[in-house]
């Protein structure tokens, strides 16, 4: 090697020829093992419809869509500091855009899903600059008010069922892309095959969103976002365009949230403004998942959604009492495990399956 023989212009600052003194690492051996296990779990989930009952598939659609919403809310509020209680706006917009696409434009549902996401993102792009003028609790209230306004607007569309909502007939969905294949593959009737198709779409979205958020948090933009959340003035003073980063995050989260809304209501095949824009279903439960699971971790929403699923399944028989139990549990966990169940495990055992901290060490 004759690196030395290459003349280096004196003016150029080229550090690449120097031996690096420091190095940075993020992953751990445990996180690499976790990645392998993760791949196995996802493959198993993908193969599950071959043996699972229709009930289980429907339950898992709930789990996967709630997981996606929780990851998205965690990115927005936990990492980004944008504590929104109006995410139901984008679930509702996505759902209504899907129905409009199918009923009014005659689109294929599978094609309409990403378009529904785009529509939610577009509205988010318009709302963002208005909401970002509000800070902290005012932002939270503003996002909720915006969601209510959008609910009222959607209720005005008579062709989409107005205030009472509407259903899509199974016939309209029977020509859906991929449905015949699923029917033939698993020997299912159209309604069950539609569940499987939505299940696969929901699984794909949950995996993409989880990995996307993880990659983002490990990237330089994720670092800038975390700095903006901790101290906006200081972040700006070290060169971070805080407003741009938050706005981009807000739009990206709305895009994925809109797609979740579209998938959920494609499976239900019935929509109403009160359900699609429900603050309880699409924000309160989601916050519950993130808070009991562990805010600002990738693992937290996974743990949280499994806890919620277990509670919903076993407490449903007690009727409205189960909301009381859910609320009390949330308060207890917040009091005794402020970092959530996963946060507590991570703190005590020093385990992180999805580490984000960048560690600095000397190379020699």
């Amino acid at each position: 090697m004759s690196v030395e023989s290459i003349p280096i212009p004196a003016s150029r600052e080229d550090r690449s020829l120097e031996v690096p003194v420091w190095q940075m690492r993020v992953g751990t051996r445990l996180s690499r093992i976790a990645a392998v296990i993760g791949v196995v779990v996802v493959l198993a989930l993908a193969a599950l419809p071959a043996i699972a009952s229709r009930n289980l598939i429907q339950d898992l659609i709930f789990v996967l869509t709630m997981l996606t919403l929780a990851q998205l809310w965690n990115a927005l509020a936990g990492w980004g500091g944008l504590v929104s209680v109006g995410q139901q706006a984008f679930v509702g917009l996505g759902a209504y855009a899907l129905f409009a696409g199918i009923v009014m434009l005659g689109l294929d549902p599978v094609v309409a899903i990403p378009l529904a996401g785009l529509f939610a993102a577009l509205i988010a792009a318009v709302l963002g600059p208005l909401l970002f003028r509000l800070e902290g609790p005012y932002f939270a209230i503003g996002s909720w008010v915006a969601a209510e306004a959008l609910r009222l607007i959607c209720a005005q569309f008579k062709s989409l069922g107005g205030g009472t909502g509407m259903s899509i007939s199974p016939g309209e969905l029977s020509q859906m892309v991929g449905l015949k294949t699923v029917q033939a593959l698993l020997g299912l009737r159209p309604a069950a095959a539609r569940d499987v198709l939505v299940y696969w779409l929901a699984l794909a979205l949950a995996v993409l969103v989880t990995l996307g958020i993880y990659a983002f948090m490990r990237s330089r933009m994720g670092l800038a976002l975390a700095a903006s959340r901790d101290n906006a003035a200081a972040a700006r003073s070290v060169g971070v365009r805080t407003a741009r980063i938050r706005h981009a995050l807000w739009i990206a989260v709305a895009f994925a949230t809109g797609m979740v809304g579209a998938m959920v209501y494609l499976q239900k095949a019935r929509i109403s403004p009160d359900a699609a824009f429900s603050v309880t279903d699409w924000t309160a439960y989601v916050i519950f998942i993130v808070v009991i699971g562990g805010v600002r971790t990738i693992e937290g929403p996974m743990v949280g959604v499994l806890l919620l699923w277990g509670l919903v399944t076993y407490l449903a028989q007690y009727g409205s009492l189960y909301l009381v139990v859910l609320g009390s549990l949330a308060i207890l966990i917040m009091l005794f495990m402020p970092k959530g169940v996963w946060g507590e495990v991570a703190r005590r055992r020093h385990v992180q399956l999805f580490p984000t901290q960048r560690w600095l060490a000397r190379s020699r």
Binding site: V21, Q23, A233, V240, Q357
Partner: protein, 242 residues
Amino acid sequence: MRWANMLELRAISKTFGAIVVADAIDLTLASGEALGVIGPNGAGKSTLFNLITGLLRPNSGRIVLDGVDITNLSPEARCRAGIGRSFQIPQPFDHLSVFENLAVAALFGGGLSEADAIQHCGRMLDLTGLEAKANRLAGSLPLLDRKRLELARALATRPRTLLLDEIAGGLTEAECHELVETIRTIHAEGVGIIWIEHVVHALLAVVQRLVVLNFGKVVAQGVPGEVMRSREVETIYMGVPA
């Protein structure tokens, strides 16, 4: 080395309601100069930094960097243009590690690639004595280390003009001496410095020129030794009537 900026404040005024915190201030930092700023509590010193970095907008007046009017630039753009600052009350990114606090500054303000940023941050942590704590969460640091972090993070942005706001308070004699050496090293590399400091002997060991602020006005400026003996400084600090 990047060239140091020339920074000019032209008739900068700022009021908070009825209080005037900057009263038609004219001030120039020559390229590569080290300027000290002293003045009693509430004189408007930190406010001056907030005006220079863009966190506050002046009611009137212009701020000019290398002949370019930056009065309407955002704080982040001013940082990228070469202005780095420390905060009097430390403002760390609590949930990030010390190293990550610097990394975000080097990547965004400093415009470095990831590979270069890692080496640059390592050097700045070494220089400021924070290397051993590189992987601790910034929120868990004691006050003195938070102040060190302020300096280290400002340096990570690779400033050409460095604004330091009371970083020597609370240090032992030996630590203070080390700090003075560090700032001298930075200055020797061609970085322009404005340093607000109550620990006057540390300040005088570094700066070439001294400015005295009171009630948002420059009441004296010039060679440090002469300014310290001036009637204005005596009036402010000793309470001798003018």
